[in-house]
């Protein structure tokens, strides 16, 4: 008899038009002291299973069949038992530490409330226990910090508090739903180490749900691969990652960017299990004809000199600028601090750093969305900002374009795909004929690998990856030379990420584009870039060629980033 037994679990969500099967005949076992990973692409039903175990499925979803047993106690649909068990026997760690703590209560109150609800302890004892818990999850100065409110903690610290809450009632099982997705690499490492540590020390069963194969490789003992609510493969982590048998598992493993070497293109696996090597080579012919032949002469395309951007209270609440005084220096945030670099034609330069390192601010300064406080920017030797700090768009002539992070907000939901792509063309060629315009739009939609039928639809009819392709088509419509990619794949599943990265490499090769690639994901940066700039708190730490940076990092911060990134190879 195993500690946790899930047998023949079926969950469905009846909607008006059809019944969506979120989980079908799911079966797995978990022992104490073991970490089980559940992976799968978005919509594969991984979170549904976790919610089913604590009976938190949103109506109208329901468990139609199956059984869930902990220590041989049946949990399914018995509200009384589940009330006692949720929180006491099962701890839950949510994805977003920003929203999983109540902002109006002190940490103390939230911990004590949970403890007293399940354990028969006095207030003083609960307080003592809370402090002990905070110490256990690695919060320094716990006696004092327990009086703080959630907003006084950083993201990583908050996730530690959430874990403290989850283990506060001595649970036997912890379910962590994407526990580190919202966190930076170094904090992710600490949180995962903490979970591993607790598993051993307290002899817990842990389920980690994630889409990150690196996390799976570094933490779990067993792994389940899911797709469309089915378990397609399960087994020992090492065995499954080195020798995946099902197509889905192979596709997941093969699309993970390797951390230890640079590959030319990602291999993709089609649903029938064959490897495909796609190329848009012949599709770009028409584009090249209209754009004219370009050559990269390895010239300097973009130059930033000592660019600084400061965010203070004045720029946040700009409306009240005439009220506030300039004396409050403590609230000034230097988002970009004296950054200088050059970008040469045809290369891909990576900007890497954790959240708040100023990567996106640099992109916004280059594209003119915000203006710098200090410094010089030159594009093709023409200044991008005049002496009044006003953006000179005619000096770049629309040649700088950007691809955004969030494919769900980067396309206007009220425009058809056709109009989204046609608008920039019409803007730059005022007297273009309708036929020519249509031909241009066709060429662009072909090159990003979408069908022409999709032109008459609206953005909400497409998946994240498809929307990102439409985004790329729109960016290409102005015939850019410089493409800025701001975390273009961080919202996508790993196999879709591989496709989009391949596409970006293809169009760069064919159309001789220069790219500035922004990401927090070191393996992705390694695959995409020739040179890398490492940023920390708005300042440049290190600029080096990619291979050199990964093989011999000089700066302490770079070393740490490379050491801490989750590596799928660590297990193989």
């Amino acid at each position: 008899m195993s500690f946790l037994e899930v047998k023949n679990l079926n969950i469905s969500y009846p909607t008006r038009k059809e019944t969506i099967v979120a989980s079908k005949n799911v079966e797995f076992f978990l022992e104490r002291g073991e970490i089980l990973g559940i992976v799968g692409e978005s919509g594969s039903g991984k979170s549904t299973i976790a919610n089913a175990i604590i009976n938190l499925i949103d109506p109208p979803g329901e468990i139609t069949d199956g059984s869930i047993k902990i220590d041989n106690i049946e949990l399914r649909s018995n509200e009384e038992i589940i009330q006692n068990i949720r929180g006491k026997k099962i701890g839950f760690v949510f994805q977003d530490p920003q929203t999983s703590l109540n902002p109006l209560f002190k940490i103390k109150d939230q911990l004590i409330e949970t403890i007293q609800a399940h354990l028969n302890l006095s207030y003083q004892d609960s307080l003592k226990k809370s402090i002990k818990l905070l110490k256990e999850v690695g919060i320094e100065n716990a006696e004092k910090r327990i009086e703080d409110y959630p907003h006084q903690f950083s993201g990583g610290m908050r996730q530690r508090v959430v874990i403290a809450l989850a283990i506060s009632c001595e649970p036997d099982l912890i379910i962590a739903d994407e526990p580190t997705t919202a966190l930076d690499v170094s904090i992710q490492y600490q949180i995962l180490e903490l979970l591993k540590d607790l598993t051993k020390k307290r002899n817990l069963g842990v389920i980690i749900i994630t889409h990150d194969m690196g996390v799976i490789a570094e933490t779990t003992d067993k792994v389940i691969v899911m797709r469309y609510g089915h378990i397609v493969e399960q087994g020992e982590t090492k065995e499954l990652l080195t020798n995946p048998k099902s197509t889905e598992a192979r596709s997941l493993v093969i699309s993970v960017p390797p951390t230890n070497k640079k590959i030319d293109r990602f291999k993709l696996i089609s649903p029938d299990g064959k490897e495909i090597t796609s190329s848009s080579k012949n599709l770009t012919k028409n584009i090249i004809k209209t754009w004219g032949i370009r050559e990269n002469k390895n010239q300097k395309l973009l130059k930033l000199e000592e660019v600084t951007k400061v965010f203070d209270d004045n720029s946040l609440g700009s409306g009240f600028s005439f009220i506030s005084n300039k004396s409050s220096n403590d609230k000034i945030v230097k988002a970009v601090d004296n950054v200088s670099f050059e970008l040469f034609e045809g290369e891909t330069l990576g900007l890497v750093g954790e959240s708040g390192s100023g990567k996106s601010t640099i992109a916004k300064i280059i594209t003119g969305l915000i203006s710098p406080n200090k410094g010089d920017l030159k594009y093709n030797n023409e200044p991008l900002y005049n002496s009044n700090k006003k953006y000179q768009i005619h000096n770049s002539r629309g040649q700088i374009q950007m691809i955004f992070q969030d494919p769900y907000s980067s396309l206007n939901p009220r425009f058809k795909v056709k109009d989204i792509i046609a608008e920039p063309i019409k803007f730059f060629q005022k007297n273009i004929s309708n036929n020519e315009l249509l031909q241009n739009v066709y060429d662009l939609i072909d090159i990003v690998g979408m069908t022409r039928q999709s032109l008459d639809r609206y953005p909400h009819e497409f998946s994240g990856g498809q929307r990102q392709r439409i985004s790329i088509a729109r960016a290409l419509a102005t015939r850019p030379r410089l493409l800025i990619c701001d975390e273009p794949t961080s919202a996508l599943d790993v196999s879709i990420q591989a496709q989009i990265l391949n596409l970006l490499k293809d169009i760069q090769d064919e159309l001789h584009l220069t790219m500035l690639f922004i990401s927090h994901d070191l393996p992705v940066i390694r695959q995409m870039c020739n040179r890398i700039i490492v940023l920390k708190n708005g300042a440049v730490c290190e600029t080096k060629n990619t291979e050199e940076l990964f093989n011999n990092p000089e700066h302490e911060y770079t070393k740490e980033l490379i050491r801490l990134m989750p590596k799928i190879e660590s297990i193989i």
Partner: protein, 307 residues
């Protein structure tokens, strides 16, 4: 063919929500019947009360058909000038609806324009516009309308005023309703302007005017539509109030409010129907629009959507 369109509408989320809300179906049916009657008043109404030739003083104060002395030629009775109540109400609702729609459209154009520009441009301009709405909101709409009407009377001659009365009314009601639109559209613009599709348009180099009115405006139409619907009922009531107070449309072309005012004089002499029927009509009209607006607010709000 008709069934096909019905099925198509039923298939959309908003259509499904509509046909599954009894309140929405009933209130919209009532509203559209009233709208139809007032648009085609010439065909629907048995008499033309504005045509002196069709009115006879001999028929004055005829009670409704079911009362003693009532006649089938005047189902809801007649007023003091012998005008058929039913026809007068239909023609009156036409004026109420024209004033209501026109003033809401005027308020919407003004408010949305100021709201979007304030939200998008920001800075001093935003402060000025938003303080202006705050000031406007402290003045009750009736007072504002009376003020505008008073000024209009002072500068326009009496004979001109009767012709101009309806425009003065539209302006007066519109000017007191625009702050709602300005507030809502500014708030929605602040949300939309930080979305990446707006950034993308700016990087392409599109002008601010184009971004505001081609890209942002279609995305904030939903909340504007909701307050426009609820505002329509309010505008019709405000118009009736003004006409009741005697500063609205002239008595020769009575609106619902004017009819209620006339009837009010005869309420205690037994001719209750002259004020009763227009009042009920007004209540039903305003209620059906308000209920429609309520449903729309819930149906267009993704947070309240039932899964």
């Amino acid at each position: 063919m008709l069934l096909k369109t019905y099925n198509k509408i039923y298939d959309t989320d908003i259509g499904y929500s509509f046909f599954n809300s009894k309140l929405a179906v009933i209130s919209s049916t009532i509203f559209f019947i009233i709208l139809f009657c007032s648009v085609f008043a010439g065909i629907v109404a048995p008499y033309n009360p504005f045509d002196p030739a069709s009115v006879s003083l001999m028929d004055a104060f005829t009670p409704p058909v079911w009362s003693e002395g009532g006649s089938f030629s005047f189902i809801l009775g007649t007023d003091q000038q012998g005008r058929d109540m039913f026809s007068t109400m239909i023609y009156g609702s036409r004026i109420s609806l024209i004033v209501g729609f026109a003033s809401i459209i005027f308020a919407m154009i003004l408010g949305v324009f100021l709201g979007i520009t304030a939200g998008y441009i920001g800075g001093r301009y935003e402060i000025i516009v938003m303080r202006l709405t705050d000031v406007q909101l402290t003045i009750p709409s009736i007072l504002m309308a009376l003020l505008v009407d008073g000024i209009a009377r002072a500068i326009i001659s009496q004979s001109m005023h009767d012709e101009m009365a309806i425009y003065v009314l539209i302006f007066a009601i519109g000017i007191s309703e625009w702050p709602q639109f300005a507030r809502v559209s500014r708030a929605s613009t602040l949300v939309e302007k930080n979305k990446e599709y707006v950034s993308a348009s700016r990087i392409i180099g599109l002008s601010n005017i184009l971004i505001m009115f081609k890209h942002i405006l279609p995305n904030i139409l939903r909340p504007i539509l909701v307050i426009a619907t609820i505002g329509l009922a309010l505008a019709i009531i405000t118009e009736s109030t003004l006409s009741f107070l005697g500063v609205g449309v002239p008595p020769t072309t009575p609106s619902l409010g004017t009819l209620i005012r006339f009837g009010n004089n005869f309420l205690f002499s037994g001719e209750w129907w002259i004020t009763f029927f227009p009042a009920i009509f007004l209540i039903v009209l305003a209620l059906s629009i308000n209920l429609l607006g309520d449903w729309m607010r819930d149906a267009l709000n993704p947070k309240l959507k039932k899964r």
